[in-house]
Symmetry: C2
Subunit: 125 residues, 2 copies
Amino acid sequence: MHRSRIGIVLVDHPEEHAAEGLAFWAGVQGVTPVREDSPEYHSLGTTGSLHLAAQRTGPGTQPRVHLDIETDDVPAEVARVRALGATIVEERRGYTILQDPAGVVFCVVPVQTGDDFEREARTWE
Amino acid sequence: MHRSRIGIVLVDHPEEHAAEGLAFWAGVQGVTPVREDSPEYHSLGTTGSLHLAAQRTGPGTQPRVHLDIETDDVPAEVARVRALGATIVEERRGYTILQDPAGVVFCVVPVQTGDDFEREARTWE
C-alpha cells in the first residue's frame, strides 16, 4: 500500500531562455521566485494545492511543462504507472523520469509538498 | 481590474495515441474520464483545486502538457501576459493560445472552474 498525487507542475526552460522564462511565470503568478537548494530550480508559489516551479534545463532542450507525481514509495509508484503503460526514460538518484504511452514526459518523485500531500494523496492497494 | 489563475492542466495527445494516453492518465488519477461537450476533451478530475483534462490533438502533433490560465476578462489577461513577455500563437473564438519567452505554449481561457476560481483567483489592477 502506498500513496501518490500529482503535486508539482514544472515549467522547463533551456538555459539560453531560462532567465526570461522564470521572470515571465513569476509575473503570471505575481510572486518573487525562490531559489531552491538545487540552483536550476525556482519555486513560483502555488496554484491551489499544486506547487509551481521553473527548471533550467540544458542548452537546446525543448521548452515544456511537465508534471511530477509525488509519492511515499517511489519504486511502488513507478511500478503502478508502468503497469498503466508508462515507460522509463531515466532513473536518477531518488526519482524516475518516465513517459506516458504517447510520449508525454513526467517524473515520479518523493513527497515534496508536506501537508498538501497528506491531505490529498490517494492510497493505492 | 480583472482576475485570473492557473486553473487547468491539460495533457495533449496526438490522435493516434489519444486513447491510450487518456486511459493512462485516468489510471494515474484513479478516475473514469468524463467526456466534455467538445469530443476532443475529457475531464480527469482534479488534483487539488486544479482541473486535469486530456485533449486529443491532430495527427502527428507533439505530445505535451499545457496550462490554461482562466480569467474573467480574456482580453485584459492576454494584455497582462503579453506585457510580461508572452507572444500570441493564435486567437480562437473565446480564447487565445500564446507562448512564453522560451516557447512554452499555454492558453488564456474564460473561467472554467467556478467556485475554485472564485476562491483562488488573483486580482490584477
